[in-house]
Amino acid sequence: MEISFICNGRKRMAAISGETRALDLLREDLNLTGTKEGCGKGECGACTILLDGKPVSSCLLPAAKLDGRNVLTIEGLKGDGGKLHPIQQAFLDSGAVQCGFCTPGMILSTKALLDNNPAPSVSEVEVALSGNICRCTGYGKIVEAVLLAAERLQVKI
């Protein structure tokens, strides 16, 4: 079947089969390899993308469900003039990245949180990131990074 959707601000068309996962369409056909496959069962969050602004697990999502929708992957998250997005910069500045495999998913879950709640509490950050597993950092620095990003984004406004 043919689908068309907006991906990172650009209109995309694709010919897919019913069993094609959104994750495979993004990685294999569109070469957007920032979206990672971890568990493949919707548990780890490495494959998180934003669908109409909301985080979803692209490993469980049939590509057919992208039709007519708006997708944001980590490649679409850009700051002013090609710089890093403030969330990305806050993750670097806080030392919230070690191996980096979970980072795209963490950052997109953070984006969805801060778009809706610009000044979250620690427990709100923890709930928002509860579907993103990190095996390196122990989460403390990731929570710090989200709070730092929130602060910087608010100052900007």
Binding site: G18, S57, L61, P62, A64, V127
Partner: protein
């Protein structure tokens, strides 16, 4: 594999054959598909059917379209507290943004976190199939782990939550290995009508303690008619521990599940007491 997106429930039913499967949010089915545990010739996506989406007031109470997302249930102001809390307990933000309440019901896992609340709310299901529409009470719906009374071509369309007394309170608790992304080792829900401090009407259920979400009628008998602040918690816990019939499995041991079922109920009643003060 083909992928159909019908616009009405009738169209979906007419597309269904033995080799085609319905899909809603896909959070359970996606795992089975990727591991080739099911290999349908086609998927029939129910989430584009307008009549299956949304939460709205009706004469009988509140109606929930079966394809309403778990995230929407978790934010709804029309729905009782126990169902909202049950929805919040499911999976992660990612899963809640994809999953539907109808999927949680039709998957019929004994540990489904919206099922125990729906049991104490005495939900009624409207189902459509080849021979038209029928209504099924939740107590007749689940017939075993992952098994329901629905025939393969039937679709769950609407969940009716019957009208409540203004004095009705409800609560939900679950316990898992962690807060996010955890399958319930045990969950429990209570719906009570409390008038002048007396528990007039009571419905209690527990999940992941039997082949189906279990209504605990003997435990209800212990609580009914008691003053909310009176000393019934120990007897209630003992009765609940006896009334559940859990198994030991990879997630928890039988004895643990019995104890925790009682403790979760105690926790719900203690919160109701606090709220009443």
């Amino acid at each position: 594999m083909e992928y159909y997106k019908p616009k009405t429930a009738g169209e979906a039913v007419s597309l269904k054959t033995d080799s085609r499967m319905y899909i809603a949010g896909g959070t359970d089915l996606g795992v089975l598909l990727s591991e080739f545990m099911v290999q349908p010739e086609a998927l029939i996506d129910l989430t584009g059917i307008d009549e299956l989406c949304g939460v709205f007031k009706v004469d009988e109470g509140v109606a929930i379209g079966a394809c309403t997302g778990i995230s929407l249930i978790a934010e709804s102001e029309l729905l009782p507290a126990c169902l909202v809390e049950g929805a919040k307990a499911i999976g992660s933000p990612q899963i809640r943004n994809m999953a539907t309440i109808g999927g949680n019901i039709c998957n019929a896992s004994p540990c489904g976190d919206t099922l125990t609340p729906l049991v104490v709310l005495e939900a009624v299901f409207i189902i459509e199939g080849d021979s038209g529409e029928r209504r099924v009470k939740i107590e007749d719906f689940f017939i075993g782990p992952k098994r329901t009374c629905m025939s393969p071509e039937e679709i769950l369309k609407i969940i009716i939550i019957p009208s409540r007394s203004p004095d009705q309170k409800s609560g939900f608790r679950m316990i898992g290995k962690r807060n996010g992304q955890a399958i319930s080792q045990v969950n429990a829900a209570v719906s009570a009508v409390i008038t002048g401090g007396i528990i007039k009407d009571i419905r209690i259920a527990a999940g992941s303690v039997a082949p189906v979400p279990l209504r605990l009628k003997k435990t209800e008998d212990v609580v009914r008619g008691k003053a909310l602040g009176s000393n019934f918690l120990e007897r209630m816990k003992d009765t609940a521990e006896q009334e559940v019939s859990p198994i030991s499995d990879v997630r928890a041991a039988e004895e643990y599940r019995r104890k925790v079922a009682g403790s979760l109920l105690e926790s719900i009643f203690r919160a109701m007491r606090k709220e009443a003060v």
